[in-house]
C-alpha cells in the first residue's frame, strides 16, 4: 500500500484512538465539529495497519489501552510517519508520564481525562500546523540530489563557496551550480531561509 500523505490543502486530518469506542467516537465527532477531519479507532493494531493508506496530521491516543501502551504505539506510529503530531490523553495522569510523553515520544501534549476541549483543539491546531510544515520541509529537501544535500548541509553551517569547494573537492564553479539548484528546489532566496528549513 503506497504511503499517502494527507492533502496539504485539506483541513487537519486527525485520528482518535481510544479502546473505549464511545469516547473515541465522541472525541472524533467533537473534533469534526471543530473543523478537523477526524476518524475514531478503538484498536491500535487496526490504526497502524490502516495508517499507510490514510496518514494523518495528528493522532490523539489514549495511554492505556488493554495490553497496548500508548507510548509503544507512539513509537510504532513514529516509525511509520516521522511527521505526524502525537497527543496523549489519559485517565491515570502522572508527572513522569507527562514528561516522557513530550521528551521521549515527541508528544505535542498530554491531557488528562475528562478532556479539556479547548485545550485539545488548541494543541491539535498546533500539531497540525507543525505536521504540515514538517512534511513540506521534508518534501522540499527530498528533491535534492545527494551532492546538493551535502552543499545544503554545509551552507546552513555557514560555510562560504570557497570553503565548500575545498571541503568537497569540487571547483567553486560547480559549487555555484549546486547552490543555485538548492535555492531553486527548496524555493528559497536566502541562506537564512535555508537555515529555517533545516530546523
Amino acid at each position: 500500500m503506497p504511503f499517502r500523505s494527507p492533502d496539504p490543502a485539506a483541513p487537519g486530518t486527525v485520528h482518535v484512538l481510544d479502546d473505549d469506542a464511545d469516547l473515541g467516537a465522541a472525541v472524533a465527532r467533537m473534533l469534526t465539529r471543530q473543523g478537523f477531519v477526524a476518524t475514531a479507532f478503538d484498536d491500535p493494531a487496526a490504526l497502524l495497519a490502516a495508517y499507510p493508506g490514510r496518514a494523518a496530521h495528528a493522532v490523539v491516543t489514549d495511554v492505556m489501552m488493554g495490553e497496548w501502551n500508548g507510548f509503544d504505539f507512539a513509537e510504532r506510529l513514529r516509525s511509520l510517519d516521522a511527521h505526524v503530531a502525537i497527543l496523549f490523553m489519559t485517565a491515570w495522569p502522572s508527572t513522569a508520564h507527562a514528561v516522557d510523553s513530550v521528551r521521549l515520544h515527541g508528544g505535542v501534549d498530554y491531557l488528562d481525562k475528562p478532556i479539556d476541549e479547548a485545550r485539545l483543539c488548541a494543541s491539535l491546531r498546533e500539531g497540525v500546523a507543525w505536521s504540515t510544515a514538517s512534511r513540506a520541509t521534508a518534501r522540499r529537501l527530498g528533491d535534492l540530489s545527494p551532492r546538493e544535500r551535502q552543499v545544503f548541509d554545509l551552507m546552513v553551517q555557514g560555510h562560504g563557496n570557497k570553503a565548500m569547494a575545498g571541503l568537497l573537492g569540487l571547483s567553486p564553479k560547480t559549487i555555484e551550480d549546486h547552490r543555485a539548484a538548492v535555492f531553486q528546489k527548496t524555493q528559497t532566496q536566502s541562506v537564512a531561509q535555508l537555515i529555517a528549513l533545516s530546523r
Partner: protein, 546 residues
C-alpha cells in the same frame, strides 16, 4: 490485669516551655495563679503546724505533708512559680514562728526556708525538661511524677548538705551523727509528705478541672480481695516478726505494697500505703524517742517509695500498652485506608472515562440547543454545567488520590487551597460548620509535594471543623493565606470549643501535619488568642516566581 480505678495520667509538669526562653517575667504569677497561691499559704500553714507532732531535735518533722502540697502546686502550675512559692513559705514561717529568725542572721534564716522550695522547683523543671525529650522508658507517664515525688525531697536534702557540714550550729545539731540523723529525718519527712499528699491532690485537681476524665469503676471484687489479702498478710507477718522480738521489719509490708502496685497501679498502691501510714503515724506522733521514730519512719519511707514507684511503673506500662494497642489500631486503619485509596483511584478512573464522553456530548448538545430558549435548551445547559463540574471534581480528586511520591515541585497556593476546599467543603457541610476560604494571590508558590501538603492542610481544617462542630451555633472555620518576608503562611482559624470534648479521633492529624510541614522546611504553630480563637499557622518558604 486491670486497675481497680484509674486516676488520670499526669504526664509531665505544667508549662515546661516557659524555660525555653528565659524571660524573668515568666516567674511572675499570672492572674489565675494568685488564688492557688493564697490557698497554698493557708494549706501550708495548717500542714506545717500538723507536722510539728512528729518533730525532734535537729529537724523539723518526720512527716511533712506540706512538702506534698508544694510539689503538687509546682507540678500543676509549673516550676515558674518557684520564687512565688518560696516567698509564700517565708511569709508563713516568719508570721507563725517568728522564732526562726532568732539567733541566726536573717539572710541565713530566709535562705534556709527558701532553699528546699528552690530544690523542688529545679527538680520539677529538670524532670519536665527530660520528659519533653522522651525516649527514656523511665519517663513514660506517670513515671515522671513518681520520680519527682522521690527526687525532689532528695534534692532538697542534698541542697542542705553544705550548710549542715559547714555550720551545723545553725540547725542546732552537733557532731557527724546528729548531722546524719537530721538530714535523714528531713528526707524521710519530705518523702512521706510528697508521696502521700501530692498524688491525691493532683488527681482531685485534674478531676475538678475536667483535664482528665475521672473514671472510677468499682474495683473488681477479685482485685479488692487480692489487695486486701496481700496487704493483710504483709502487715500480719510484720507484726509476727515484731512479736518474735525481731523489731519492726519493713520487708513483708514492702513486698506486699510492691506487689499491689505492680498488679493494680498507683491508685491501689496509694490506697494500700494509706492503710500502712494510718497504722504507723498515730503510733509515732507525740511522745516517742527520736531514734525509734526515725527508724519507723525510715522503714515507712522505704515502703512508700517502693510501693508508689511500683504503682507508677505499672501505670506507665499500662499506658505504654494502651499506646501500642492504639498504634495497632492505627496500623489496621492505615491498611484499610490503603485499600480504600486503591478502590477510590479505580473508581475515579472508571468514572472519568464515561464522564469524558458525557462532557463532550453535553457540551455539544448545549451548543446545538443554545438558541432555542426552551426547556430542552435549559436542560442541556444544566447537564453541560453539571458534567463540567463533575469533570473538575474528578481531576482534583484524582490529584489528591494519586501516589504521594515524587520530588517536590513548584506549587501555586491557589491550586492547593482549591484542592483542600473541594475535599473539605463536603465534610464541613456535613458537620454543619461553614468553611470560609479567603482568596489567594495566584503568584504565591512554594516547593512542595502537592498531595502531602494538601493532606497536612486538610488535617488542620478537619481538626478545626471537628473542634467547632459540637457548639450550638458553630462559628465558621476560615482558611486563608498570607505572605511576608519570603514565607507563605496558611492559616486555619476556628473558635475554641465552649466545652472541650473528647473525640474519637486518634489525635494524630496534627502530628502528621507537623511532620509533613517540617519535611517541607516549614513550621506549624498553634496558638490560642485572647479572643478564644485557635489559630493554626503553617509557614513555608516562598519560591521566586518569574
Amino acid at each position: 490485669m486491670t486497675a481497680p480505678f484509674s486516676p488520670p495520667l499526669i504526664p509531665r509538669p505544667a508549662a515546661p516551655e516557659a524555660f525555653d526562653r528565659l524571660d524573668p517575667r515568666v516567674f511572675w504569677p499570672r492572674r489565675q495563679d494568685w488564688l492557688a497561691l493564697a490557698c497554698y499559704a493557708v494549706g501550708f500553714a495548717v500542714m506545717h503546724r500538723l507536722a510539728a507532732y512528729w518533730g525532734g531535735s535537729g529537724f523539723y518533722s518526720l512527716w511533712f505533708p506540706a512538702a506534698g502540697l508544694r510539689l503538687a502546686l509546682l507540678w500543676r502550675l509549673g516550676a515558674r512559680l518557684t520564687p512565688a512559692i518560696a516567698l509564700v513559705e517565708i511569709a508563713v514561717d516568719v508570721t507563725l514562728t517568728p522564732a526562726v529568725l532568732a539567733g541566726v542572721p536573717w539572710t541565713v534564716a530566709i535562705w534556709g526556708i527558701a532553699r528546699p522550695v528552690l530544690a523542688y522547683g529545679v527538680t520539677v523543671a529538670a524532670i519536665g525538661w527530660l520528659a519533653e525529650r522522651r525516649g527514656a522508658a523511665l519517663l513514660t507517664a506517670p513515671m515522671p511524677l513518681g520520680l519527682a515525688l522521690v527526687l525532689a525531697p532528695l534534692t532538697a536534702v542534698l541542697s542542705a548538705v553544705p550548710q549542715a557540714l559547714t555550720s551545723p550550729e545553725l540547725t542546732g545539731v552537733s557532731g557527724p551523727r546528729e548531722v546524719i540523723v537530721s538530714l535523714a529525718a528531713f528526707a524521710v519527712g519530705d518523702l512521706l509528705g510528697t508521696l502521700f499528699i501530692a498524688p491525691p491532690l493532683l488527681w482531685i485537681a485534674d478531676a475538678v478541672s475536667g483535664r482528665a476524665r475521672w473514671r472510677w469503676p468499682l474495683p473488681s471484687l477479685l482485685a479488692a480481695v487480692e489487695t486486701a489479702g496481700i496487704l493483710g498478710l504483709g502487715i500480719g507477718l510484720a507484726r509476727l516478726l515484731d512479736q518474735a522480738e525481731l523489731g519492726m521489719q519493713p520487708a513483708p509490708v514492702l513486698v506486699a505494697v510492691a506487689w499491689i502496685g505492680l498488679r493494680f497501679g498507683r491508685a491501689a498502691a496509694w490506697g494500700a500505703l494509706l492503710v500502712v501510714v494510718l497504722r504507723v503515724l498515730p503510733d509515732t506522733a507525740g511522745a516517742m524517742d527520736t531514734p525509734e521514730r526515725l527508724q519507723r519512719h525510715l522503714a515507712l519511707a522505704t515502703i512508700v517509695v517502693a510501693g508508689y514507684l511500683a504503682g507508677s511503673f505499672a501505670d506507665a506500662q499500662a499506658a505504654a500498652r494502651a499506646m501500642l494497642e492504639r498504634r495497632d489500631r492505627l496500623l489496621f486503619q492505615a491498611e484499610r485506608l490503603k485499600t480504600l485509596r486503591a478502590m477510590s483511584v479505580a473508581v475515579i478512573h472508571e468514572v472519568s472515562q464515561p464522564l469524558s464522553t458525557l462532557a463532550i456530548e453535553a457540551r455539544h448538545l448545549h451548543r446545538l440547543t443554545a438558541g432555542r430558549g426552551d426547556e430542552i435548551a435549559d436542560g442541556a445547559a444544566l447537564i453541560d454545567r453539571k458534567a463540567e463540574h463533575l469533570a473538575t471534581l474528578i481531576r482534583r480528586l484524582r490529584r489528591f488520590g494519586g501516589h504521594a511520591e515524587g520530588a517536590p515541585q513548584p506549587l501555586a497556593l491557589t491550586a492547593l487551597v482549591d484542592m483542600v476546599a473541594t475535599l473539605a467543603q463536603a465534610e464541613a457541610r456535613e458537620a454543619g460548620v461553614a468553611l470560609v476560604i479567603a482568596p489567594v494571590d495566584p503568584a504565591w508558590q512554594v516547593m512542595a509535594q502537592e498531595v502531602e501538603l494538601a493532606q497536612a492542610v486538610m488535617n488542620l481544617v478537619r481538626n478545626a471543623v471537628q473542634a467547632t462542630q459540637g457548639d450550638a451555633a458553630p462559628d465558621p472555620v476560615t482558611l486563608g493565606v498570607t505572605a511576608d518576608q519570603g514565607h507563605a503562611v496558611i492559616h486555619v482559624v476556628n473558635r475554641a470549643p465552649a466545652r472541650p470534648v473528647a473525640r474519637d479521633g486518634m489525635g494524630i492529624g496534627t502530628h502528621v501535619a507537623r511532620a509533613i510541614v517540617e519535611a517541607h522546611g516549614g513550621t506549624l504553630t498553634r496558638t490560642r488568642g485572647p479572643d478564644d480563637m485557635v489559630h493554626a499557622a503553617l509557614s513555608l518558604p516562598l519560591i521566586e516566581t518569574r
